[in-house]
């Protein structure tokens, strides 16, 4: 898994809607907030950075969200996978969406 710590800038007048929209993502958690200044720190848990990018794009479509900026990434499990498998894992292929597409 890859974890990102990401900062969301939002319209503070739409706080409730923004929080509701963010918490609808199962792999996203809100950790810190400055509601007066319209800033949230979330973490995204994903199989790879493509999924993180996908979630980023989804978040940007939600009303009230102005910008999504990544700050930090942790990928310790992937390092272990690479060392065990002697190859760079394309873990995106383990995704349900990918498997569904393959099986369809």
């Amino acid at each position: 898994m890859i974890y990102s710590a990401t900062i969301i800038y939002f319209d503070e007048k739409m706080k409730d809607e923004v929080v509701k929209n963010i918490t609808a993502f199962k792999s996203v958690e809100i950790h810190h907030a400055d509601y007066e200044k319209g800033k949230l720190v979330i973490t995204i848990e994903a199989a790879d950075s493509n999924e993180i990018e996908h979630i980023e794009r989804e978040l940007l479509t939600k009303s009230g969200i102005i910008d999504v900026e990544h700050f930090a990434f942790h990928f310790g499990e992937e390092v272990e996978l690479m060392e065990q498998g002697e190859k760079v894992p394309d873990v995106g292929e383990m995704f349900k969406s990918h498997i569904d597409k393959k099986n369809s």
Binding site: M1, Y3, S4, A5, T6, I7, E29, H31, H32, A33, D34, K37, K39, V41, I42, T43, E45, D48, S49, N50, I52, E53, I66, D67, E69, H70, F71, A72, F73, H74, F75, G76, E77, E78, V79, M82, E83, E86, K87, V88, P89, D90, V91, G92
Partner: protein, 806 residues
């Protein structure tokens, strides 16, 4: 992974992000979360573009396991990172890494070797060729990805130690026109301003730069600023309507190679409407032409511009006349205009002139010397500025980016390096004649028995010319015929041509200084050890120096500790350039180690914090003691281009002419090449990262829908893209946001049938010798219907034995 550990990792990362975002958190929460995810955080810079984003690599158990932004950063403000940079750790840990020296045997197969065996062979060949063919028969070709300490060491070794200027680097292929543009217009290389001008500008003129894909963090920085300041005007001038145009108020299309007419047309419109700054021009401008030696009158410039009416420019360039008028007004009347450009201007047969004309616009409107106003050339590589331009590691330069032909400076460097005492060349002097530039160098290398090829051996470090040189087929055989030593971390097309391959350490495995586009030098600390027997280029340079009898000359060659070795090289470098305007004398290694922001030159002493803006009294320390740097600045001037006679910047009369390849009945399309966001350079690293290679697994040809219709092409079809030099077979991508008659091909694919430089023109700018990648005449024909070419192709270790590219 246990839930608790996962939660701790996320809490730790989130805490760092909260600090970055300025969100207050309790000291207890901070203490609890910090340090759980990694053993240590090590500061450094990203190396996947020229922005110079600073970051921390997280190390656990001797491995890179995390990356986070640096909140103190002045480049990627607030520490934001792009997803491409976040994947860089996969390069360090990749199983394709080269981990042992390799020597090609008589049968053409690579055999594992010890360092001693490889270095002994290099020593033997170099000494043999020096003796038999002269000191210019052994060349070096470096990179804007080597550290400053490495480039400086190789430069000192070649130009002083061997007495040969056959020492060039890949910034020749991307930045040389910008260098010559700054030198001829302003007298000194590199921008006057800083990235901070982005947030101070009232108008941003992006020309020849797809910022959104080539410099994504700077693009986000600009996009955020535009979002908060919708009145700021953004103008984008380029042939393709890329994602960069999404934030623009105006997209000015231009046929590749013709934008000089646009710049002259804007200048004409500015002067015609009296939007120019007469006082600024009188004090700081000087009209000239040709090589800049002859001073001309203002009226001659005005008369020259007369033909560039908006209507004439529209006919010549494809840019609507109304857009030229609007752009001219916004540019001149904004109060603070920032121009930024990249390879779209530089990689041209008239690249230096294009640079000159952007500077013209700034001089006539007084758009230097104040917040938000500058003419800013962006670099494509992380250390093209610091490592190659500033250390003078091009064939015509010496440290301080001053020409080797300038006798007083050459004499100073010669003395500083003690060339007369140590050089192995009987001339005991630096050659006053510039060496071979990249294209000339690779035209001139070849086999021992080939009398037409004077260069017999070459070291190629951290770059991949067999894939990146235009008209590549012409030069690949030369590399195969010569004694070619390749230093790299992965197998590449160039490594396939090598006689010896030396495994290199990655940036985070050795540390060193990188200097980015805004004159900022930043130290990356060593975080982990390199794999196997891989070694830092600096160590390799030192071993060669010792074996060639130059151990004492390269005074750090016997130092066993790589960090200490780098510090010694750095100290030698900043001593050499201490009395130039590029001085980093105040930037000691101790300061670099402590600093989380780096330093912008000029930085003349240890109390100086670095310079945000040049040429302005009160900001630029050169004004405080100009005599020390060989300049004369009147005491009553506030702004002064001190590297130019009388402090006046040149306003060049440059016509819209070029030597670029022209379209014809047989080759009716103009092909232009460039980057995509997911990939970088020849894909050596990024094509090995699953996420980025999945997003861009192969090259393609982008073509306008009207042209596609005429040719019977649909998206996915395979097309033959052919020039007089060679061809590619590429999948078609039909678009409507470009000009008709122009096709675009990304430059990253390694597959032989899709290596676009087989097709590209190798015409060079006559001043900078930078190739014209942006203008090649091609024909397009349908090759077949759709085929699956999403191969994510990379050269394998096994393929190194085969000199034929598959």
């Amino acid at each position: 992974m246990e839930i608790s550990r996962r939660s701790f990792i996320k809490a730790s990362l989130a805490t760092s992000a909260a600090v970055a975002a300025g969100i207050s958190i309790s000291p207890e929460a901070k203490a609890q979360a910090e340090g759980v995810a990694v053993d240590k955080w090590v500061k450094g810079v990203c190396r996947l573009c020229g922005t110079g984003c600073s970051l921390y690599t997280g190390v656990k158990g001797g491995k890179l396991v995390a990356i986070k932004g640096n909140t103190d950063s002045k480049t990627n403000t607030q520490g934001f990172l792009c997803v491409k940079g976040a994947n860089i750790w996969k390069v360090a840990n990749h199983p394709d890494r080269l981990t042992t020296p390799l020597i090609r045997d008589a049968k053409g197969k690579f055999q594992k070797a010890t360092w001693d065996q490889a270095l002994t062979l290099i020593e033997k060949k170099f000494k043999e060729y020096h003796k038999k063919f002269g000191y210019d028969s052994v060349a070096y070709y470096g990179s804007g990805q080597c550290t400053t300490e490495e480039s400086y060491t190789f430069n000192k070794l070649w130009k002083g130690g061997f007495g040969s200027n056959n020492m060039d680097g890949n910034p020749r292929l991307c930045m040389a026109s910008a260098v010559a543009g700054y030198l001829s217009s302003l007298g000194s290389d590199e921008p006057a301003g800083s990235y901070t001008d982005i947030e101070k500008a009232k108008c941003v003129f992006l020309t020849g730069s797809n910022l959104s894909e080539a410099h994504p963090i700077l693009f986000r920085r600009l996009a955020r600023y535009k979002k908060d300041n919708p009145d700021v005007k953004i103008i984008v001038c380029e042939p393709r309507k890329t994602l960069t145009s999404a934030i623009a108020d105006l997209w000015m299309p231009s046929k590749p190679g013709t934008d000089l007419a646009i710049f002259n047309g804007m200048a004409r419109e500015i002067i015609k409407n009296k939007w120019h700054d007469e006082k600024y021009i009188a004090a700081l401008g000087r009209v000239t032409k040709g090589d800049g030696s002859e001073a001309l009158k203002w009226d001659e410039y005005v008369a020259f511009l007369e033909k560039f009416t908006p209507e004439y420019v529209e006919t010549t360039t494809g840019c609507p006349a109304a857009d030229i008028k609007k752009a001219a007004e916004w540019f001149a009347k904004s109060g603070a205009t920032l121009s930024m450009w990249c390879m779209g201007l530089n990689q041209r047969s008239n690249g230096v002139w294009a640079n000159n004309l952007v500077h013209n616009l700034h001089v006539i409107t007084g758009m230097y010397g104040k917040p938000g106003a500058d003419a800013f050339s962006l670099t494509g590589q992380p250390n093209a500025c610091g490592g190659v331009r500033e250390t003078g590691s091009l064939s015509h330069l010496l440290p301080g980016a001053r020409p080797v032909a300038v006798e007083p400076w050459r004499n100073f460097v010669q003395k500083y390096w003690k060339v007369a005492e140590y050089s192995i060349n009987p001339a005991k002097a630096i050659n006053p004649k510039p060496g071979a530039h990249a294209i000339k160098m690779f035209s001139s290398i070849g086999a021992e028995g080939d009398e037409t090829k004077p260069i017999k051996a070459i070291i190629i470090s951290t770059t991949n010319p067999a894939q990146t040189l235009p008209n590549a087929a012409k030069y690949i055989k030369n590399m195969q015929d010569a004694f070619t030593v390749v230093i790299d971390i992965f197998p590449t097309r160039t490594a396939q041509c090598a006689s010896v391959i030396l495994p290199a350490a990655f940036l985070y495995e050795k540390g060193g200084v990188y200097g980015c586009s805004e004159r900022r030098s930043f130290l990356t600390d060593k975080a982990i050890n390199p794999p196997g027997e891989a070694k830092a280029d600096l160590w390799i340079a030192c071993q060669i120096a010792k074996r060639m009898g130059l151990g004492k000359y390269i005074g750090w060659s016997n130092e066993p500790d790589i960090t200490k070795m780098a510090e010694m090289a750095w100290n030698d470098y900043i001593g050499c350039t201490a009395n130039t305007e590029k001085t980093l004398k105040g930037v000691t290694y101790a300061r670099l180690k402590k600093s989380t922001t780096g330093f912008q030159w000029p930085c003349p002493d240890e109390k100086h914090k670095g310079t945000e803006r040049r040429y302005v009294r009160g900001s630029d320390p050169i004004f405080d003691d100009p005599g020390r740097y060989g300049y004369n600045i009147p005491k009553d001037v506030k702004e002064f281009f001190y590297a130019r006679p009388h402090g006046k910047a040149n306003i060049f009369i440059r016509d819209n002419v070029n030597d670029s390849e022209k379209t014809s009945k047989d080759y009716p399309f103009i092909m232009t090449t460039g980057r995509v966001i997911d990939q970088w350079h020849s894909g050596t690293m990024t094509m090995r990262i699953p996420e980025t290679s999945a997003s861009h697994p192969n090259s393609y040809v982008e073509i306008h829908e009207n042209d596609a219709k005429k040719l019977g092409l649909k998206t996915g079809d395979m097309a033959k893209v052919e020039s007089v030099r060679g061809f590619n077979i590429l999948p078609v991508k039909v678009v409507n946001q470009t000009l008709e008659g122009i096709v675009f091909v990304p430059m990253h694919d390694q597959k032989a049938s899709r290596m676009v430089n087989y097709v590209c023109s190798d015409i060079v700018d006559p001043t900078s010798a930078e190739p014209d990648y942006k203008v090649s005449a091609v024909k397009i024909t349908k090759a077949s219907g759709p085929q699956n070419v999403a191969e994510k192709y990379v050269v394998t270790k096994k393929e190194l034995d085969n000199k034929i590219f598959s």
